[in-house]
Symmetry: D2
Subunit: 357 residues, 4 copies
């Protein structure tokens, strides 16, 4: 049983390989009568797309999304929404030499062992290229959540290597190519990435996602708690190796008297929980930290094997990001949007007659 769908009620199904003719997606369950155009999806696609700055891969995809169905005269009709993004800048010849090799840190080895064959061009389905469709689908959810409920879902770069980027100003985030929330570290980040490009190495990153104005009541005990669904969605993004809700791993050394968020008639006194209690949103901001591993495609030689189990040395050329973590921000926002949208509709299904969230 394959796994190319996410969400239960707001359900996103995708297909498409890095070097195939197109990425495609179907979004089922979108509420009708909501204004939607291709333009609404393009903003976040542009934030994610490769080639948008000198700090990311030089593969240059325009990532123009086309709506094939489900929208009539600028409004959603309630039927399934079809999306398509054509691939344009494929350089498949870059990958011919990798046909019989498994790039270390990549899915080459596991795909071939699992399925018995693999589309070796640019990582095929395992390429981060598939996340373009996540961003397009997520943009629909994001727009609905903002317009109907004023829910804001935003992310920023929190750490890259040993450089910590503290949140100073949300407005800065989309003004620099690092999604860095302050201006002080920009030159340090520039130096770091430039240096990595020279040495041909890569680096990991930590990003933070914040979702605000969440209605109380989202999350479905006991297995589809809101935090569980979010962890699922976030961990499904390429290169993610860890996720924290609220204080995350810091809770290991906390006492109960410190961690529990006390309540007063004016609201919670703190937000160690990160906006979720017992798997259900409590109205406070949802805060998540996400760990992203360093790009595996680097030009520093490494050891690997061929598909006939011979030892070889490998240098991965092609066009790659020195820090893939930077580009995960719009993707993680999109996945968060999809999950919150899905849970909003799940809430309506069972409890909708109570409060009409």
């Amino acid at each position: 049983m394959a796994g190319n769908s996410i969400g239960q009620i707001f359900r996103v199904t995708t297909c498409g390989e890095s070097h195939g003719p197109a990425l495609s997606g179907i979004i089922d369950g979108m509420p009708p009568n909501f204004p939607l155009t291709e333009k609404d999806l393009q903003y976040d696609l542009n934030r994610r797309r490769p080639g948008s700055s000198s700090y990311t891969t030089t593969r240059s995809e325009l990532d123009i999304v086309k709506i094939l169905s489900g929208v009539f005269k600028g409004k959603t009709t309630g039927t399934s929404i079809g999306l398509m993004i054509q691939n344009t800048d494929q350089r498949s010849q870059d990958y011919e030499n990798l046909k019989y090799l498994y790039r270390p840190g990549h899915a080459d080895y596991t795909y071939e062992k699992k399925y018995g064959l693999r589309d070796y061009r640019g990582g095929g389905r395992a390429s981060a290229r598939e996340t373009a469709m996540r961003v397009a689908a997520g943009a629909i959810a994001k727009k609905y959540l903002l317009n109907q409920h004023n829910i804001k879902i935003r992310g920023f770069l929190a750490q890259i290597g040993n450089i910590h980027c503290t949140l100073q100003d949300w407005k800065q985030v989309n003004k620099n190519p690092f999604f860095c929330p302050n201006t002080e570290q920009l030159s340090i980040l520039d130096k770091l990435i430039t240096n990595l490009k020279k040495t041909g190495d890569s680096i990991g990153a930590k990003i933070t996602i914040v979702a605000e104005n969440i209605p109380i009541g989202l999350g479905e005990p006991v297995f589809d708690r809101l935090d569980a669904s979010l962890a699922h969605a976030i961990m499904s993004i390429n290169a993610v190796k860890g996720i924290e809700i609220g204080d995350g791993f810091s809770v290991v050394t906390q006492h109960g008297s410190e961690h529990r968020d006390q309540i007063t008639s004016n609201g919670f006194k703190s937000n160690h929980a990160g906006g979720i209690l017992g798997g259900i949103s409590n109205g406070q901001p949802i805060i998540m930290n996400i760990a992203i591993k360093p790009t595996s495609s680097i030009s520093i030689p490494g050891k690997t094997i061929t598909n006939t189990n011979e030892n070889v040395e490998i240098i991965v050329t092609g066009r790659h990001d020195p820090c893939i973590g930077i580009r995960v921000i719009p993707i993680a926002e999109a996945m968060t949007s999809i999950i919150l949208m899905d849970h909003l509709l799940r809430y309506r299904a069972q409890c909708g007659t109570q409060h009409h969230i």
Copy 2:
């Protein structure tokens, strides 16, 4: 749309409140002709059950599980398996005083806001008591994985407060009430817990789960990657606030040249990935770290509100664990077993004619 099921093919559905007559579960999709008795489930239930040592809550449930269906003459028949555990040691009167209060750090507030009412006795469905049924269901998966594939799924206490418990000897883990993998820290842990019981406070913990002898190929791109499914299942356990796969948050400061696990004809040279590449198991041990928050039920006074929004002070008495993290170990093992079992069957569904895992 509620969320009391987990797994797609090996599917576990549960119900039951802390102070209701019984917990119940239905396991659908179990392969037929596999030997199974109630005894097989009891071992892990005993490891989880409350009152098993002086370091955990004094609520004393026998947690005797009864198989209602799906097993005939000691073998699974392929039909849905019914399980039931009766609640016996309920002291609901302990909770009458909490009827109109929301305990900080608990789901009282969110359940009441979401559903408009709540079973306030012992936390109702939000109580960790529901995890007994997870452990029972997980034990079925665990036995199958071990018997048919020699897959071993084990956990240990990795950290509690500032005390680190390094893995010295797996054999020690089940010989002490802390699931501590070495004998040196036992007296320190004893002192810590004893002290917490005195002060009425609680502490967080980190646990590690290791799954060995995993076949290559489990995990379903792009959304139901094995790590995504595991993150979902683990994060659905009460009190979990973070999860790492392999190196987890350490990747933030790693370079690609360090992180990527190089491959030789004798296998991988390292396991930074934690056994999963591109969302698919690579045959190496799966390693996860899990952060568990300190128990919220403590006898140190705290601020909260009533359901009419009046400020009050609360002291949570009743019977509670100073460190709930300790008891999460068999639960996390169970959830890991359920997910691996589900993915094994998912693999068979699509790719089963290739290798017959």
Copy 3:
């Protein structure tokens, strides 16, 4: 991937064998704050239960249902509802002689071939006994639909052999053991069944289900149309061999000018469609006819084989219904209720903010 669940949002999962200790069920997704007691479920259980008249099997089960969870102080809490019905009048020894035989017309052969073994006592899971849990679950949906939306779901015996029972008076239906909607045929039916009991044979039947006061808009194109979901649910009942929506097979000889239900400002001029257009309810009564095969367990000798493929003659004794079709009526009502309830909640999920059905 097994199939012991039905419904997507109002989701019913069951287990239990004919001669096991109990039948059990979990209902997930029930809206909270709705009054519910065990008594609410008992009325339909009594209508279905064996031994309730001399015209049905003499197996005498009390079918007392117990609510294990999901209800607190007489109201649903929004958490999963656990139900249990204990089996009491098992006479498993009746079946020892069938251990190595496949009763013709029964699932003995297919269960054993599929799973490699079978619980041969009373048909195991394939027994119509499992439908008791469907009726219990359906009663929850039925009550909700009636109380909240005035939806009425009722069935009657339409035909048995060559005897046609035309609908004269709904009130008569539950006053006679045949669910016959007029009093004239009662003596004819009595004679028919009495005669069948003498000859040891059985007979087929046709039943009609009518659902009234359905809101416009239930049904999910293109695959989960309301009629498709109903056909699924009804065909899943033991012994059902055919289903018609509205005019059903009569449409084969109809012209479009006759069949299409014309519309006026006062509503539809006819109901050939049976209340569903394009897979969506149109506000008219939903009408379904269902064909039920004759009971396969008869005392007239027949040919079959043993599990070692030897030819033998078989006479099925035990306690059986001469016309199982009669008892399908409350079961079909229950399945219809589950599907309508599920689609009501599915409607709310996607379109709920429009009309608040």
Copy 4:
């Protein structure tokens, strides 16, 4: 919760309106390493497509399908398969006059009431045009079932109005535009359809689907029995109003001694059951009859209302089939193929290690 997906493991998700730019589909769960080209899908698409004879609508779509993903060098890769069929011969202006009207017998009324708006061009999503994607997806399943298991899935026209078409020769079926299984009735059918085109009316039909060489064991009790899944899939096709498995409604007058298929060491003595016992395939041919209503779009004037509830007279011009039933045959074959494929993979998931079907 919308319903644009069918199948659990072999899962087909579709989108697309009659007059939108394209129909699109994603097939998830296809086993890897299976030879597949666009040509494989075209044969059945051509059998279904409009304008292929003078007896069907004159809308002329080429229905050229394009594979966007999931196939590499002529073989399936195990990743999700994207399909697209562009709409080319839309004459949307035909429908401008229907903007404010609800065509009787159509989904215009129910779509607008459900969603609050509708794409009125050619019926939008409710158009039978969407079935092109079902046929494309079904062709993948059909090819796999035939190649790997020699399963044959075929249909023929059984009745149209009062003309019965008995099965004489399967080879004739695809040689005439009626899918009629004998040559004698061809001139009668020609006369009937020609006459209907003159009068501007339409007629219903009955078709029969036969699936042969089915492995024993497909079908998932108790709710996803094979017959239940088939009934779901078949009833989801536009215009279907009834379905029978095996003897269908004839069982109403049958005795158990006649209906039960007796078994001998050489196999079953009859096939009243239609190949399914207890919801599980028994190895005999699966036989289904399907009732299809007459086309609702006819040029005979009829009564309807506008969206402001005014009475009007309507004549539906545009390009329509006098008997839509004829064209349902390849669609019903496709839906049967999808369900059998899905159940084959479901079987493998749970029972695959037993027999390796």
